[in-house]
Amino acid sequence: MDLITGLFVFVLAGFVGFEVIRRVPQMLHTPLMSLTNALSGIALVGSITIVATSDSTLATVLGTIAIVASTINVVGGFWITDRMLRMFKKREPKKADR
């Protein structure tokens, strides 16, 4: 992948992000923050590649710390987002008249 094609991907993804995230209602902004946190855990892919192809101790140690850090984000991020979203409920049809 060359620089410019990378930039195309970056710019287009930025546009997509902008359009999509603008539609997320205020109500869901906290879950949004924690979901993007979870997605940023994709650094895991880079960290694993480093460790899995390294034969220097430095790279192995740094990469392992990076794996731990990103795994925390992935596991924690998705989990807590789902925990939050499970709490969002619509009024049950009859609730108001009870």
């Binding site: 993804a13 923050m33 994709i42 880079g46 899995a52 990076a66 795994t71 925390i72 989990w79 807590i80």
Partner: protein, 466 residues
Amino acid sequence: MTAGVQLAYLIAAILFVLSLKWLSAPTTARRGVLAGEIGMAIAVLSTIFAIWPPANLGWILAALLMGTAIGAPMAIFMPMTAMPQRIALSHAFGALAAALVGTSEYYVAVTEGHHLSAFTMGALGFEVLLGFLTFTGSLMAFGKLQGVLPQRPITYRGQNAVNFTLMGVAIVALVWLIIDPTQTLLFPVLIVGGLLFGVLLIIPIGGADMPTVISLLNSYAGLAGAAMGFVLGNPLLIVAGALDGASGFILSVIMCRAMNRSFTNVLFGAFGQVTASSGGDEDDDRIVRSASADEAAMVLEAARKVIIAPGYGMAVAQAQHKVRELADMLTKNGTEVLFAIHPVAGRMPGHMNVLLAEADVPYDQLKEMDEVNPEFAQADVALVIGANDVTNPAARTDESSPIYGMPVLDVDKAGTVMVIKRSMSPGFAGIDNPLYYNENTMMLFGDAKQFVADIVGELSRSAAGV
């Protein structure tokens, strides 16, 4: 990289986009989480299998386990009120990962004698600098939000000069490295520069502005991730980084707009520094009408329409469940109950929504500011629970107020305004609230949870005919 794993990355990227797309409605939001999880699983598994058998498999598995062992309990036991801190912390982790990956890429390339092109070195330096900066910056934000560090902005003479010098040094080091990547001694300058800069950037920003800062750091973490994608030639990382960056940026813009402040003002305004000085003492003959729980209960009982405006105090007091109970009780009594949610009520965007959702308040009962503001005039009671700045009428009228122009909830238009808070002390912006001296305002002093519980008690007693 083989075509197979690349294709897996493409699918993961599509799932990530869909994940955010589905987050645009509460009914599809959980599907969004699922899409994100599947995308992540596809990406990680295909990465491992593509380099099978991987070196250091033990290290990898141990690290994955350890990350899970830390992340899962954090997700399960973290109280909802601590979300801002948690998010700050996870930016720190994300940025650290990016920075460490960049660092080891650099040293491996240099020791193995690979040539780093100007483009790769530039992206790598950007990744490391931004990663370490975001790491310490997010830790500082965490500290301020958690109360471990002083909330007060710390400023000193020549602060900007110091910061700019440091930035200059880091940039010079980076440019030099781009020209000659073998200058290994310069790399630590980049690392230390990033780490220090993150600290120095956050020091002069008050605790009140941390949510905006977190969002901005979110955006930086995203950019660092995208830079990692450029270094590794991995478009999936670029996509995820760009999505992350866009999200952080949009949220911080929304917050700034909701507070009627500019980015520059948030980052360099040292907001909240002159806090106590302007409050309180100007007009000590103004009268405050305080009331007790049973007086409040009587007024509420007679009301036909009540609008509840919750704020940060409700979160601190963990009063959301009691508030739900109160709302249910009033509803049963035939009163119409709405919740008015200000965009920056609490300590992060959407904070109140999550707390009230936790307490089982249905989300269609929560109204956004623009929708609910015209309704206050028809409300008999506006019940302000632990909110302060977001109800301050001075934002509408007093041009000298630091929050002048910030849109606020028009609670003062209601027949009676009840304000539950512990004292007359100001909120996050550190300014006086003239609402508390209005004729139709009843101040209900006490802890939010306790006071609401008292009102609920009074109401149920009177319902039982005692």
